[in-house]
Symmetry: C2
Subunit: 350 residues, 2 copies
């Protein structure tokens, strides 16, 4: 597997959908871990960072994930490749822009990505296309146990796992979902819904995590607290109480739109499809905005001849790094607008 | 001929195009005349207004325009019918909203419309689809002469024809063209071009004449001065110097767009067509805006499968009164948005 192959298709896990896929676009669980006996990264020398990379890379690739995974050295990676990994949610923007020896181990199905030397020595993440917090959690526990059989993690009997940032201390567990909330946005209820989530100690972020804007009505909702609660409680509360409630809000808003403002809704959706099918120049932002309408149209069966797979593919391939890899050349933003429009027209051709 | 039949199709003269039809949408010449021995309308009694109507109606219908014309009594007309005539440029907004006995004589081909008791006793207008000021002028002279053989107009040997408003005194002649200037608008040069026209003593107005906004990049350009110049000079200057210059500006701007910004231009044009073909709700204003792009696309051969006739038809039928006559019922604005979108989709179906 190499990054060029990767760049040509959405992650395979995206195609696995479930009963909540009308709202939940993806599930993600991650653990933060640090090696005992090594300083946190802010205090590490370059040499120590290199040692961490070598140890973790070898352990992960040869002992745990074996032939199904590959390593990308982020410290020496091409800027476009780094952007590509960020666009795929396999590394964070911070990791791409960081300093010193660092990398990421990725399984070929992209369901597991382990960042080495991001903010902590280890950031393990498991991704899924369906709303399945528990399965993701079980998978990550398994990886965590396999690692702990071979390595010793910084742990305090009082606080739990120790992490570079206090918000991760304790379980080091963060669970999140990417939610598509176009009806709450259209109906103007989005702020109320997100406030309710925040009141339940959830963090709400944009498409690319912390500090990013909500693009295409995509909102990342995750737990804030990792300390003072058991992993079991976090998973249960998040997966069985909080997220189902937001899903319910969104579905209710969709039902209201369908029964009371169907024509205006159809108008937006058919216009979005028409513009995507005919534009000759289009920005990444407008693409996400229009794809959001399209996704809603498909979920509500207003649009029947386009699949969610096609929408996911376009949402991914229309992003700058993917687009340049797709066309096989570096492009200035103005040229990208043309190439993006061409790609979208091709993929949506009737 | 009745107004319902009229409402279902654009004026036949619109279909007659010429070498300047890429920019000139229509030509118009009008004369203002008042009967000698009758006060101007502001001083007329209701009885006198009625007498004027009866005299002019009879003269026009039975002696001059004969079986090819019909009369509409504006004072008793249905509000929707009045709006219909305004949308067709057969009467002015002022005439529709006026008071007292008044009407309009219209030839069935709609190339001649004579308003009785608008601002003057008589406002004779001749319309054409091509840029042909001289032919329109010759036609109107012929009508004027036929009228003068039967009636006496208020005339001063010093000033010429006398009119209610001093701006019409003299020849009483106003010549105008409706110009489609999308490229000057897009390139930001429109103000400069219109300023040049105003410097040459032209009035520049919107789609429905005095006091209206330019909709769909349509600008009505007409002579300001009717006094101190011969009819011949007015026609020659306007038709052979001023308008050709504006046409040249617009064509130049189109060439620049085609050679330097072709992709952005095509993007706007194809998006406009796509939105028109897919919207479920659309306002009259947005329709005119998008049809303007479409018209430009057809003139530049970027769009090949749509005719100017279809665009003219949509520009007309999508207006509120026409739309309601087309669907055969009164509609609230919100319902019109839906009906308009339906009509447009039908007429533009590929």
């Amino acid at each position: 597997m190499n990054l060029l192959e990767l760049s040509r298709r959405p992650a395979p896990w995206r195609r696995v959908r479930g009963p909540f896929s009308d709202v939940v676009v993806s599930s993600r669980v991650r653990l933060a871990r640090n090696l005992a006996g090594m300083p946190f990264l802010t205090k590490c020398t370059e040499r120590q960072m290199q040692d961490i990379v070598e140890l973790l890379r070898a352990t992960l690739l040869t002992e745990i994930l074996s032939e199904d995974a590959f390593y990308v050295d982020i410290s020496s990676a091409d800027p476009l490749d780094k952007d590509l990994l960020v666009e795929r949610h396999l590394i964070s923007r911070q990791h791409a822009d960081g300093k010193g020896p660092r990398g990421v181990v990725i399984t070929t199905d992209e369901s597991v990505a382990v960042m080495v030397n991001e903010e902590d020595h280890l950031r393990i993440q498991v991704l899924a296309g369906r709303f399945e917090m528990r399965q993701c959690y079980e998978r990550i526990c398994q990886l965590d146990e396999q690692l702990e059989q071979r390595l010793t993690f910084a742990f305090s009997s009082r606080f739990g796992y120790l992490t570079a940032c206090p918000t991760n201390v304790g379980t080091g567990l963060r669970v999140s979902v990417m939610l598509h909330l176009p009806a709450l946005k259209m109906s103007g209820e989005i702020e109320k819904a997100l406030r309710a989530a925040r009141d339940m100690h959830m963090a709400v972020r944009g498409l690319y995590g912390e500090g990013t804007e909500a693009v295409g009505d995509m909102f990342q909702v995750s737990n804030q607290t990792t300390l003072g609660k058991s992993e079991e409680d976090i998973i249960r509360e998040f997966g069985e109480e909080i997220v189902p409630k937001i899903i319910e809000y969104e579905r209710h808003a969709r039902n209201v739109l369908m029964s009371k403002k169907r024509l205006a809704l159809e108008d937006r959706i058919f216009r979005a499809l028409a513009v995507l099918r005919s534009a000759r120049l289009i920005s990444s932002e407008e693409t996400m905005y229009l794809l959001s309408h399209l996704r809603l149209g498909v979920c509500l069966k207003i649009i029947e001849d386009i699949s969610l797979d096609t929408i996911d593919e376009l949402a991914l391939l229309s992003q700058p790094a993917h687009l340049q890899r797709y066309f096989g050349r570096d492009m200035a933003p103005s040229e990208r607008g043309m190439a993006r429009a061409e790609l979208i027209r091709k993929k949506l051709a009737g």
